[in-house]
Symmetry: C2
């Protein structure tokens, strides 16, 4: 169920001294082919970290043979020295693997502004250690697990997923705890498949999947400088699936990982699905749902197990989506507390004690629907993000 | 220093049983003239409360002789019954004062969805009690104070201000603790002046003032359904100031009240001024500053006295304003911690223990500047908004 679940991939996670804690902090994933097709989606933040600046360019040809990932420092806003560190990381990995530096993707996560000489030395040491430790051909789960552990920051658990197609496999790992859709705790995802397909097919499958999974996870509204989602294909299965089958498997792994990210969001006590029904368009459904996901008052109410539907209506009223605020229904965990813009069932009928929380907003304005996943605003969130410099 | 500081105004605050606590909950401000010119600014939320729906229409003629305000219930999303309650409130006040209902502005604050028969009965009783208690002609501060107290919800202190012009006075009161620029704890502001001027002049002065004061206060990013700012002129001073002098006095009172709102924001431990310098346009300066004011990660860091400039750059990178993220300087309380997109002075040189916090972001992209005022994200904010249904 990991990044090594698909044939043709090896991986390793090592402790190289990037993290002061001495924990696992550098991971490497290697595609042994025969193919080296790859696709990627990167943060849309204009403040891009050095590894994003490198990787986005390096992936332009649709090929990648290895990914080096480190926790313990985002290497963002670290100047020309920081970019050289990323470049040297790719070159060191290429040298050890006998490939070109352009075929090495680099991902970093941790504190923005960290990227000095000791950081560089530790990351390069990590590349050497990981290259020595590579394992996993044939589905070695241990190698996948140490990789997933090496990219954790405030994550409390490693995140891995797998989906089996007809003769092919898609596996993956992810990290990220504070954020998303956006993500300042930084979301890094590596997906692997042994399917035989072109970079164009991978790119379409990846964009279709991220659009309805990671892009609809909005834990705290903060967009990272380092977000990266990569999909590498080895072709080792010898199976060339039809595009829909590949897309379905990629989407399943992305959905699984997105739910794991939501479930481990910093300080959260509720995993909230905000479903908007009968919107005029899917885009408007997303806009309306996101306006609720970004309301601190709504999120604090959920933490307090308070079905405060007034805060839902106040949030959606700030959008310019096509609906009548006085015609809207709002359900909290199956209880319709607001009907046609007026109080409906008593709020004490709603049980908000389970972690899984379902909000349904019916706009009666069309046929489109969309769901945004978010978390509540808790004391623990405030504590972690005031006490931990991430 | 209150809403009765200007000649020609009486006011009262009474306990009518709208609030379960038995505290002051209905206020009335009456303009005795000779003029009845008035202007108002209302929430831009499409989910507008019944009193906003009424008052915005009633003010179309640029005239108002009285304002009735209640705490203890927002009368929002309470259906046709709720709108009738607002209408009956205006009619009852008109009858008691011998004026037309169209000349009565109504403002409500409290929980959305509250507006049943007992609410209506209590508010109407409050109109009677307040009409009996009206006082303040000649600057009676006590009448102004009880009015300011009667509109408090989670506010911990009443908020009043005054500015003296050449022969005329502008006074005012405000409530609001959770919110703004937006405001879900609901911002209500009544300004009074004895200057002699037309509704058009009042309207221009009010819009110019709110644009750079209340509209640039963004405590928690949540826009209210009930926000209302009213400016009433009695002309009782007999002085017709030039427009710039009136505008300056109105702006001074708005600025004073906005700072009081910021200082009493729910659960806040820091009052943060985010100043953006050298932006290409003033609008872009506002957009950039607001992106930081709405970053929960930035706000939690300030609570933890952490000068986390990486979170500032990550926030401004999400805007489409014209600047180079790698050319930006960031100062925390006078210490330049980031220069040209790289680490500058050590973070331990920054002292974030004072409540007043100054963030300066220099974009080096033009000549415009703007400041957004916000607060930090604290345990107390989460507690108040999860425990108190507002």
């Amino acid at each position: 169920m990991s990044v090594t679940a698909a044939d043709g991939f090896r991986a390793a996670g090592v402790a190289a001294g990037v993290k002061a804690s001495g924990g696992l902090d550098v991971a490497m994933v290697v595609n042994d082919g025969p193919l080296s097709a790859a696709a990627g989606v990167f943060t849309s933040n204009r403040a891009k970290a050095n590894p994003v600046l490198w990787s986005e360019q390096a992936l332009a040809g649709g090929s990648a043979r290895a990914v080096v990932l480190n926790s313990g420092g985002a290497n963002c806003f670290t100047g020309a020295f920081g970019f050289q560190t990323t470049h040297q990381t790719a070159e060191r990995a290429a040298e050890r693997l006998g490939i070109g530096a352009i075929d090495v993707q680099v991902c970093s996560t941790g504190l923005i502004g960290v990227g000095d000489e000791s950081f560089r030395a530790a990351v390069l040491r990590g590349v050497d250690l990981a290259a020595d430790a590579l394992a996993g051909a044939g589905g070695d789960a241990a190698a996948g697990l140490t990789s997933a552990q090496a990219i954790m920051t405030t994550d409390s658990v490693p995140k891995q997923a797998v989906a089996r197609g007809d003769g092919f496999t898609v596996g993956g790992m992810a990290k990220g705890a504070g954020m998303l859709a956006p993500g300042l705790a930084t979301m890094l995802v590596v997906l692997t498949t042994d399917a035989a397909c072109t970079a164009d097919v991978l790119d379409r499958a990846l964009r279709a999947a991220t659009r309805v999974t990671f892009d609809r996870l909005d834990s705290d509204g903060c967009m990272s400088t380092n977000d990266t989602v990569l999909l590498l294909a080895s072709g080792a299965s010898g199976v060339e699936p039809d595009e829909a089958a590949l897309a379905a498997a990629v989407a399943a792994v992305c959905d699984d990982l997105a739910r794991q990210l939501q479930g481990d969001a910093e300080g959260a006590s509720h995993d909230i699905a905000i479903e908007v029904r009968h919107a005029a368009t899917e885009d408007e459904a997303v806009v309306v749902a996101r306006s609720v996901a970004r309301s601190n008052l709504f999120k604090a109410a959920i933490f307090g197990n308070d079905p405060n539907w007034g805060r839902v209506l106040a949030a959606i009223g700030t959008t310019d989506a096509s609906f009548d605020p006085y015609a809207v229904d709002v359900h909290f965990n199956g209880v319709r507390v607001c009907h046609a813009g007026e109080p409906d069932r008593p709020r004490d009928e709603v049980d908000l004690t389970p972690r899984a929380t379902a909000i349904v907003i019916d706009l009666f304005a069309g046929e489109a629907t969309a769901t945004i996943r978010t978390n509540d605003l808790t004391h623990e969130y405030v504590h972690e993000n005031s006490a931990y410099a991430s």
